[in-house]
């Protein structure tokens, strides 16, 4: 028998050492001047590297992204990008300029159309479209970055980082990279002698660079109450009375649309009048939605853990540290991975919106000609089937689905949609666009956001369909048609069967819930403008200028 080939067991560490030596050889220390960032990137990044470019639906390492895109493709190429969000033009430039050729991501938002074009031209190879949590998981399995380019608020002389309220994905990225022989480079908005707090210790960080401009943050979760319609108020009343109150939902996550913003603004008025204060909506996994301020100020809310922060909310959050998770320095620490975990295993309900839903309840926001992905929604909008603790809402839902002897409960997954969206496009359809998209992309599966078998309720202006109580696919289909209103899918309903479902409480109209649609006016909203929100906050909320009319 031949002697085994001697194996090198620390190749990652050796590779790391060589990269750091190359940087040192260029005279680069730990603090990098902005004008030498390209020298650094070209020194420490190698062709074929797996590179994580931090960016999500809010915070973006935009300076590092632009700098990487400006590197010489002769020196850096064949990169495999792993990143939460493909949002900036520079992200796509990496592929168009030949620096990178493979992408694993979760959400592409505004670049969705450009991305689809690159895929069709075969200039980009998509590994997979993930959810946030799933991608974080793969950072620790088979997609560990060689180099992570991250964004922080501030660095001190040693390289300790303060992440500010928008902590978000950074801890997950840095941990995976720093402990597997990778290089961590942080762009910072400022250098401080003393940080408010240390979010990332210096020995996990190799280089810091002071960005010429503060990193971009998108105010993604600000909904102007002035744009909430009376139809949305009606749907919010039905959801509160027919779901929140009936199941006693205390721990939950909301989507980001106007539908759920309406619910938040009805808590201090309509829900309080129903005597629900303290009985619903006490604990949240939620970004700091400005529209939650009136409910917080009214004493509805005990706790909110956040995925990220929201522009303008920092002073308010600091002043409400009983409610939000804040450091000893007073500022918030968010954490996307932990908040997603809370959404999966500690919440009893997710409620959000979608663009299309089929007759099995499958839904998707994917539209033709764009490759977008879904961020965190597929995790939040799912019932994790593994074992978990019991709660009244979870048990009630489980027993509705499987009878009184059910051995497990169910998380409530509620889809809240108007039957028609803008331009009179019906939300309810026979077949999702996702199937055509699958063919166009040559993907293994259609891009479905939330699977129908996870959906427990559908709320439309026509009423609530409780899918837990349906006992056959036919009943499920008719329950969906029964709340689909005047869409072609709704018009094709079997009237007798829908009336039967209504008699059994599977479909409930507003009047079945004791709600008079004429009461659904905007006067029920605790705030009707962004200015009202500022007043509720006692002047602590500072909305971005595009939301101000003063």
């Amino acid at each position: 028998m031949n002697a085994p080939l001697s194996r090198n067991w620390d190749s990652l560490r050796q590779s790391r050492r060589r990269r750091l030596e190359r940087a040192a050889g260029l005279g680069l220390g730990k603090a990098i001047p902005a004008e030498r960032i390209i020298d650094l990137l070209e020194a420490v990044i190698q062709p074929g590297d797996r590179v994580c470019l931090e960016g999500n639906n809010q915070k973006q390492a935009d300076f590092l992204a632009e700098s990487l895109a400006d590197c010489d493709p002769a020196r850096i190429n064949q990169l495999q990008m792993v990143q939460s969000v493909l949002a900036l033009p520079s992200h796509v430039d990496l592929f168009e300029r030949g620096l990178a050729n493979r992408l694993d991501f979760s959400f592409s938002g505004p670049q969705g159309a450009r991305l689809a074009k690159l895929v069709q031209e075969q200039r980009i190879e998509i590994g997979a479209i993930h959810t946030y949590l799933e991608l974080f998981g793969r950072y620790f399995m088979d997609l560990t970055p060689n180099v992570a380019l991250i964004a922080a608020q501030a660095a001190d002389a040693d390289g300790n980082l303060y992440l500010g309220p928008n902590t978000e994905d950074t801890p997950a990225i840095v941990e995976a990279t720093a402990f597997k022989g990778g290089i961590v480079i942080a762009q910072v908005n400022e250098r401080l002698d003393k940080l408010p707090r240390v979010d990332v210790p210096a020995d996990w960080v190799d280089f810091t660079v002071l960005a010429p401009k503060p990193n971009y943050i998108e105010p993604l979760f600000t909904r102007d109450p002035a744009q909430i319609t009376e139809v949305q108020v009606l749907m919010a009343m039905m959801a509160i009375k027919g779901i929140y109150a009936e199941y006693g939902v205390t721990r939950l996550n909301h989507g980001i649309g106007f539908d759920t913003a309406a619910i938040e603004l009805l808590l201090p008025t309509y829900a309080a009048d129903l005597g629900l204060k303290g009985k619903i909506c006490t604990h949240w996994a939620l970004n700091p939605h400005p529209t939650l301020i009136p409910a917080i100020e009214s004493g509805f809310v005990e706790s909110v853990h956040c995925f990220g922060s929201e522009v303008g909310m920092d002073a308010y959050i600091s002043a409400r540290s009983d409610v939000f998770f804040t450091g000893a320095d007073g500022s918030m620490r968010s954490n996307r991975a932990f908040s997603q975990t809370a959404g999966l295993y500690a919440c009893d309900m997710f409620i959000g919106s979608t663009l299309q839903m089929d007759l099995a309840g499958n839904s998707s926001t994917a539209t033709l000609g764009r490759i977008t992905g879904f961020g965190g929604a597929p995790n939040m909008g799912s019932d994790p089937h593994g074992r978990r603790h019991a709660s009244p809402a979870w048990l009630k839902a489980g027993r509705e689905a499987a009878g009184p002897n059910a051995i497990r409960g169910r998380k409530l997954v509620v889809q809240m949609v108007e039957t028609f969206r803008e331009h009179m496009a019906p939300v309810f359809v026979e077949e999702l666009d996702a199937w055509k998209l699958q063919k166009m992309m040559g993907a293994e599966l259609p891009p479905i956001m939330i699977y129908g078998d996870d959906v427990s309720h559908i709320v439309t202006e026509e009423g609530i369909a409780n899918l837990l109580l349906c006992r056959s696919p036919e009943e499920r289909e008719q329950a969906i048609r029964g709340v689909a209103g005047f869409t072609p899918v709704g018009m094709a309903r079997d009237k007798a069967m829908v009336e039967n479902l209504r008699d059994r409480g599977i479909i409930r109209r507003a009047e079945d819930l004791g709600i008079d649609p004429r009461q659904a006016t905007r006067d029920l909203l605790a705030a009707r403008s962004v200015k009202d929100l500022v007043r509720w906050s006692g002047g602590l909320y500072a909305p971005p200028s595009r939301f101000r009319n003063w």
């Binding site: 201090p268 008025t269 309080a272 009136p294 100020e297 009214s298 004493g299 905007r522 006067d523 605790a526 705030a527 009707r528 200015k531 009202d532 500022v534 007043r535 509720w536 002047g539 101000r548 009319n549 003063w550």
Partner: protein, 300 residues
């Protein structure tokens, strides 16, 4: 908890009829030319534009704290409350009847950009007739109170009508001026006035500015009951001297002084600073009570 924020009935967002329902004593609303008797505009019909059975204005009898009241309510959600021929005739008719019947007041719920351009001269004539009728009612001893807080404000000819009334009650959301922001931008260019800058529009035409300038008798919350309380308060001690030459000259002097002091300013912020307000930038966020207190503390 801020109960005043949680339980308001917005005047700004309400329809003309909802405003009247909340303003007058319950059950006292009696519409003149109710839906079955009124008629839509013949001019709009000729242009194939949809009309409204009341032509965008409600005229009625009613009571407020048991006092007999006449009321006019423009519907801003129909053609921006613009004044056409029938719309104007209903208003003029009610004001003329007030001269004969002498109610405690005529309440004029203004929500209008001015003349309905589709009706051209008929609309212009209607506005001038309204002006004369307002002055006739006042001369007959009937106060005409303008209530300004709708989404269309009081602009163009209706801005002038508002200033001809005995008194104006305005909310922060209300706006009052002659040329509307879009008109100024169209005629004089965006450099002169950026109509999309909503904050600027309110700083120059909005209720708080008008109240600080002394153009309005009362500033009230954007709340239907607050307008009702405001009217009741105003009427409780109502006294109006008959207009005389000396009084007109004094008013003219006030306007000339204002022009001399502020003509070069571009923004309400500058005017407020000149009025002696220490932190003009805080004004837009002040609530109604704080702003009233601020005005009372200003040097006169």
């Amino acid at each position: 908890m801020i109960p005043s924020l949680a339980s308001r009935h917005s005047w700004f967002e309400a329809t003309a009829r909802a405003r009247l329902a909340g303003l007058l004593d319950p059950g006292s609303f009696a519409e003149i030319l109710p839906p079955a008797e009124s008629q839509p505009s013949p001019h709009l019909a000729m242009l194939d534009l949809p009309g409204a059975f009341d032509d965008g204005v409600v005229v009625c009898y009613g009571q407020l704290e048991k006092k007999p009241i006449f009321a006019i309510a423009q519907e801003g959600q129909f053609m921006g409350g613009a004044v056409g021929e029938i719309h104007g005739a209903k208003i003029v008719g009610l004001l003329r009847r007030a001269v004969q019947e002498k109610p405690a007041a005529v309440l004029f719920l203004i929500d209008s950009g001015g003349v309905r351009l589709h009706e051209a001269n008929a609309g212009l004539i209607a506005i001038s007739e309204i002006m004369r009728a307002v002055l006739d009612a006042r001369a007959a001893g009937v106060p005409v109170i303008a209530l300004v807080g709708g989404s269309c404000g009081a602009f163009g000819g209706m801005g002038i009508v508002a200033k001809l009334c005995s008194a104006i009650i305005i909310s922060e959301e209300g706006r009052l001026a002659l040329s509307g922001p879009e008109v100024i931008e169209t005629v004089a260019g965006v450099e002169e006035f950026d109509a999309k800058d909503r904050a600027l529009v309110w700083r120059v035409t909005g209720g708080k500015h008008r109240y600080l300038m002394g153009d309005c008798a009362e500033l009230v919350e954007d709340d239907i009951p607050a307008f009702r309380t405001g009217v009741a308060k105003l009427l409780a001690g109502w006294q109006e001297a008959a207009p005389g030459l000396a009084q007109l000259r004094a008013s003219q002097q006030v306007l000339e002084n204002r022009l001399a002091a502020y003509a070069t300013y571009r923004d309400g912020l500058q005017v407020w600073a000149a009025l002696g307000i220490a932190r003009p930038d805080s004004v837009p966020l002040l609530d109604r009570d704080s702003l009233v207190a601020l005005k009372e503390g200003l040097p006169t």
